[in-house]
Amino acid sequence: MPGRVVTVERRPRPRAMDSLGALAILRGLAVTSRHFFRNLWGFLRGRPTIFTINYPEEAQQFAPAFRGMPVLVEMPDGKERCVACGLCEWACPVDCITIYPAETHDEVERYPRVFDIDMSRCMFCGLCEESCPEEAIVMSDRVAIASTHWRGNVWHKQDLLVPVGDLEKRLGSIRRGYDTRASEPAVERESA
């Protein structure tokens, strides 16, 4: 049995003029030229109208919600905030995080002896940041993660540590985004 008959509307064939492309080429040239002169004019006046930047001399400013490379928060004493609880390792959908915990004599008795992120696997989903109970791993605005080695885009703890001062914008953003209780009034909260 034949299927349902569908009538398809064909677009009219292009005219000879269009199919030669002469008009289209001129039209395209006009668009390009317009942008060229507009940008040139803007550049000369010191008020560029374009979005491209001179990378790597200039760096892109990202919004706080941007998810770049995950990094570890380094406290002013030079130690990581991470306590190696393993929740990010569990949450990571691509298993790019490897943590080996160990014990210290500090007040918080646990720290990551090894904290590795395989950046060639990371897909910047941000679930590690969302699952972190300590605000210790955040998605930074860093994007330069390319490696010249085919193997070995594994970042170790020392490569991943970023001073907490450099991450204030992102930390403020995730506090607003993830702390659902921040909007609830009522009960007085105890600092953990």
């Binding site: 190696a84 160990a102 953990a192």
Partner: protein
């Protein structure tokens, strides 16, 4: 039997039993901390409260005997409210240590808070400060702040080990678990207190900060530490055994296991022999599996041709299936060889630790491999009559003690199965790697004659098991074998056919709790569900 009604459902429960175990046996969920099926009733946590019709107040189900016609409600608003209250009070002083606490993931306080608790606490007082990281014993660490004073550990030390190291000190708000001065928690079962601790107050030092429990793949198995055959769960992560936990089997180990057995898994991870090694002209080199098996078969054949020149020392750490395969190998390929099992004996206690230190000495006995000629073999080597030795394990080194090195050095041919680096490996002419209990399937027979399954927790890759080595050797020596390959399940069928006491045994019939083969063991009901 008494007939009771729980949440509108009629249930039949045994007379005289307490309400909570009766409900748990029917698979009902009633939250509880202090109740443990193998300990006396404490009634201190107040978590298992239920509503019983006719009683003026809620009652704790762990200490309420069942009565015919009882009507119980475990879900009423009063019960839910009571649980909220109990959990809130427990959490008033409980530190928010979950990210650094090893118990997280298998913590009853976490689980019940999630399931039965409220989201917010109302207390604005600072939390009670107590000692953290208290070194209570050589294998256990205590965090007093996390303790919820259920006293399971105290009861364990007074009722099970009867050593009474742990106690509750002070009163009321100041109550804390501690040890007496100069009396550390050092009994042979001390890590069991960490098992039964429902929170992270008592923790095993061996597992401390090692691995998150949610990364562990757990396989049901049997502890190879002695012949008691305690049922365990082998926790594996990152291709290593991370811990052993006891698994409930009322006919063997209840819910306990000794520290020695629990910490005896390390050899699985460390200093393993992975490739066959051959010694030629004093130099040791690795050779492939095929070449190693050919070499072993050739040497065994040459030695077997001369009457009394070869002896086989059987390791009691092999599974029943492997022992049976070895029996076939000896019967069909090495008829002239003498053989015996290298059994090791040591200290025992009344609770679980048994004298026979091998996991499967009983299985070797049941299969007729114990001949009592170990000393004669030693004498034969001494006299030079026995020129070749095939040791299927490294046990004989310990059994023969200090004279081993001199005895083994006299041999023309020494073929050894070794799982780990060992002095014997240095002397052997041919080393065949063996697999540990965590890497193979099979059965062990414990000292009381109970056959129990072990299963593969770690993948050994392309490495052959001891049984497969025996099969390959038997094949090369021209034996007629009844199975096309070494398959533990098939081999167990062969054992059931050949050994009368094992007639009932099959992989399926064994299940998680094993089967008794001897008269002297009385089968007790086995509750496969472990109680933490």
């Amino acid at each position: 039997m008494a007939n009771i009604t729980v949440d509108g459902t009629p249930l039949e429960v045994p007379d005289g039993s307490m309400l909570l175990p009766a409900l748990l046996d029917h698979g009902l969920q009633v939250p509880h901390y202090c109740y443990h099926p193998k300990l006396s009733i404490d009634g201190s946590c107040r978590m298992c409260m239920v509503k019983v019709e006719g009683m003026p107040k809620l009652t704790i189900s762990c200490n309420t005997p069942v009565r015919d016609g009882m009507v119980i409600d475990t879900q009423s608003p009063e019960v839910v409210n009571a649980r909220h209250g109990v959990l809130e009070l427990l959490l008033v002083n409980h530190p928010l240590d979950c990210p650094i606490c090893d118990q997280a993931g298998e913590c009853y306080l976490q689980d019940y808070s999630f399931e039965y608790g409220t989201r917010e606490g109302q207390s604005t007082e600072p939390r009670r400060k107590l000692l953290k990281r208290v070194d209570v014993g050589p294998r256990v660490v205590l965090d007093q702040e996390r303790c919820i004073l259920c006293r399971r550990c105290v009861r364990f030390c007074s009722e099970i080990t009867e050593t009474r190291e742990l106690a509750v000190f002070n009163l009321g708000d100041e109550s804390r678990i501690d040890t007496f001065p100069d009396e550390p928690l050092a009994n042979d079962y001390s890590i069991c207190t960490a098992d039964i601790c429902p929170v992270g107050a008592l923790l095993s030092k061996d597992f401390h900060h090692k691995m998150r429990v949610w990364f562990l793949d757990e396989t049901e198995s049997v502890c190879p530490g002695c012949s008691n055959g305690c049922n365990v769960k082998v926790g594996v992560a990152r291709r290593e055994v991370q811990r052993l936990l006891p698994r409930r089997n009322d006919a063997v180990n209840d819910t306990w296991m000794c520290d020695h057995g629990r910490l005896g898994y390390r050899f699985v991870n460390e200093a393993r022999v992975r490739e066959p090694q051959v010694r030629r002209d004093g130099a040791v080199g690795e050779i492939g599996w095929e070449a190693a098996l050919d070499e072993a078969a050739a040497r065994l054949k040459t030695l077997g041709a001369a009457e009394g020149a070869l002896a086989v020392i059987v390791s009691p750490h092999l599974t029943n299936e492997e022992l049976f395969m070895l029996r076939e190998l000896i019967a069909q390929g090495l008829q002239t060889a003498r053989f015996d099992v290298a059994l090791q004996f040591g200290a025992a206690d009344e609770l679980l630790i048994k004298e026979d230190k091998a996991a499967n000495g009983r299985g070797a006995r049941d299969l007729g491999l114990v001949t009592g000629t170990l000393e004669e073999i030693a004498a034969g080597i001494e006299a030079g009559a026995i020129r070749g030795l095939y040791a299927t394990g490294t046990d004989l080194w310990e059994v023969w003690g200090p004279r081993s090195a001199a005895l083994l050095a006299r041999l023309e041919t020494l073929i050894v199965h070794a799982t780990n680096a060992h002095p014997i490996v240095e002397l052997a002419h041919l080393v065949l790697p063996g697999l540990t209990f965590a890497e193979k399937r099979g059965t062990f027979t414990n000292v009381a004659g109970r056959v129990q399954r072990i299963d593969r927790a770690l993948d050994p890759g392309s490495q052959l098991s001891d049984g497969e080595i025996f099969f390959a050797l038997a094949h090369r020596l021209g034996a007629k074998l009844s199975t096309p390959r070494f398959d533990p399940t098939l081999m167990l069928q062969e054992i059931a056919r050949a050994v009368p006491t094992y007639a009932q045994v099959s992989w399926q019939a064994l299940g998680g709790g094993g089967l008794p083969t001897a008269e002297r063991e009385v089968a007790a009901p086995v509750n496969a569900e472990a109680e933490g």
